[in-house]
């Protein structure tokens, strides 16, 4: 992955710059929250995760089909590297904002108490960054985030959905296969549960965490493969 690949994508796809501005605002809000209310430190990460749902759902198909990426490909940029650079730029501003808030939080309350340094919190950011990016590649901008919010809304507004969420969160099922699967599905549907302290002992089981990290990797691999195998034919 060369510097030119990042520079080209940064110039040619302006939505990365817009994402950076949004995430800078999120970081500023997060730092302010952590400094003013050090005891109530879940909020900045909820905001960050929510914004990441949409910034990671960045545009690829339309600019690719319009020929905007042709100069980069003709300069010899390998497609899988282009895809990885696109993923890095889609999620990068969010991760930077996360690190900034987590550093300030660790300085305020200590690393042990900091929400931003917990493995479950980082895993929630990872699944959002990877799945939203991969799901949006063949579609249009924000669609991954929009579907995610819709799924969470459907789950939150249905009585059965809420009951199921409660059952998964309260039960010690993570040790069983069925419990692990339920927990993984819940974290994918509502990644915010990984930020809830009470949920860490149930859905935060190592097998669930491993599955979430594995699924994030799989999503990125599928996205990279899609970019590498597709035709860059002018359609727009």
């Amino acid at each position: 992955m060369t510097w030119f690949t990042f520079r080209f994508l940064w110039v040619a796809l302006p939505h990365f710059r817009q994402s950076a501005v949004v995430m800078a605002a999120c970081a500023a809000f997060g730092v302010w929250t952590v400094r003013v209310m050090p005891g109530d430190i879940g909020a900045p990460y909820v905001v960050l995760l929510f914004c990441q749902l949409f910034t990671a759902s960045s545009e690829f198909r339309l600019p690719a089909d319009s020929g905007h990426l042709d100069p980069l490909l003709v300069k010899g940029a390998l497609r899988h590297r282009l895809a990885l650079a696109h993923w890095a730029l889609s999620g990068g501003p969010g991760w930077l904002a996360w690190v900034v808030v987590a550093l300030v939080e660790a300085w305020s309350v200590g690393v042990g108490e900091a929400v931003g340094w917990r493995l479950t919190s980082v895993a929630s950011m990872l699944i959002v960054s990877s799945l939203a990016w991969a799901a949006t590649l063949p579609t249009t901008r924000f669609l991954g985030g929009a579907f995610w919010v819709l799924a969470m809304g459907l789950l939150g507004f249905s009585a059965d959905g809420l009951l199921w969420v409660q059952r998964v969160l309260e039960g010690p099922q993570a040790a069983t296969l069925e419990g692990t699967l339920s927990s993984v599905v819940l974290v994918i549907a509502v990644p915010f549960v990984f930020l809830v302290p009470a949920a860490r002992t149930t859905v935060g089981h190592p097998t669930v965490l491993t599955s979430i990290i594995g699924l994030s990797g799989l999503a990125v691999a599928l996205g990279v493969h899609w970019v590498a195998a597709r035709d860059f034919a002018e359609r727009a």
């Binding site: 110039v11 905007h68 100069p71 003709v74 010899g76 390998l78 035709d231 002018e234």
Partner: protein, 225 residues
């Protein structure tokens, strides 16, 4: 002489439509090829297949006797396929700096989307052809939208590239401009590529542009491949 572009029985379908039907082409380094054919015949598909932007369904493509992927990384290739390929929200100076283009473009604050078609064409061509002479120049409808000075500049620039040893492949309907630059011509019809050298055309009927125009007159063959 080395081969710059080689297509071996390249086939490409889009759905049921066969765009390239076992196309063969051998273009030696330093030669200039004009590719013509009616609208929708597959010129752009052929050009993009040559550059590895489109994967052929069958057959092989080589650039400078290397697989396309490797050749793109090792050789300097200039490509421009019209103003539509320029991102509209990017400023001209940012785009120009990306390609290390010099001259007035580097100070132009306007967004690419606010330019006229001809102006976008000029920005794209100047950026693509900036810097040292490329090993391969591939242009798709380069004269579209250019005013007479722009046309003259482009023809001069392409001739300079040709004289410096660049291999040139141009897909265009502008027969007069093509005959000004190219020494070899190819017509694409019903997925089939027919290549003629300029000298052979002159021996045949003495009018290269006449033969090129006839590419548009021939009756359509039934769907192949």
């Amino acid at each position: 002489m080395h081969n710059a572009v080689v297509l071996r029985t390249v086939t490409k379908r889009f759905g049921r439509k066969c765009v390239l039907d076992g196309a063969n082409l051998r273009l030696s380094a330093g030669s200039t090829l004009g590719l013509i054919g009616s609208n929708g015949c597959g010129k752009t598909t052929l050009v993009r297949t040559v550059l590895g932007l489109i994967h052929p369904d069958a057959g092989a493509v080589e650039l400078f006797d290397l697989p396309v992927r490797i050749a793109l990384a090792r050789h300097r290739i200039a490509y421009f396929a019209g103003g539509r390929g320029l991102p509209p929200s990017v400023r001209v100076r940012h785009w120009a700096r990306l390609f290390e283009a010099s001259g007035p473009l580097t100070g132009d604050q306007r967004r690419l989307g606010s330019l006229s078609r001809g102006q976008r064409q000029v920005v794209g061509l100047r950026s693509a052809l900036a810097g040292p002479t490329p090993d391969l120049v591939v242009l798709d409808e380069p004269w579209e939208g250019l005013d007479p000075p722009g046309t003259e500049w482009l023809t001069r620039r392409l001739r300079a590239c040709r004289d410096d040893g660049a291999t040139i492949l141009i897909a265009s309907h502008r027969l007069f401009d093509l005959t000004d630059v190219c020494d070899t011509f190819a017509t694409l019809r019903d997925g089939l590529l027919t290549v003629r050298r300029r000298e052979k055309l002159r021996q045949g009927n003495g009018d290269p542009a006449g033969w090129l125009r006839s590419a548009y007159d021939e009756p359509t063959a039934p769907e192949r491949c």
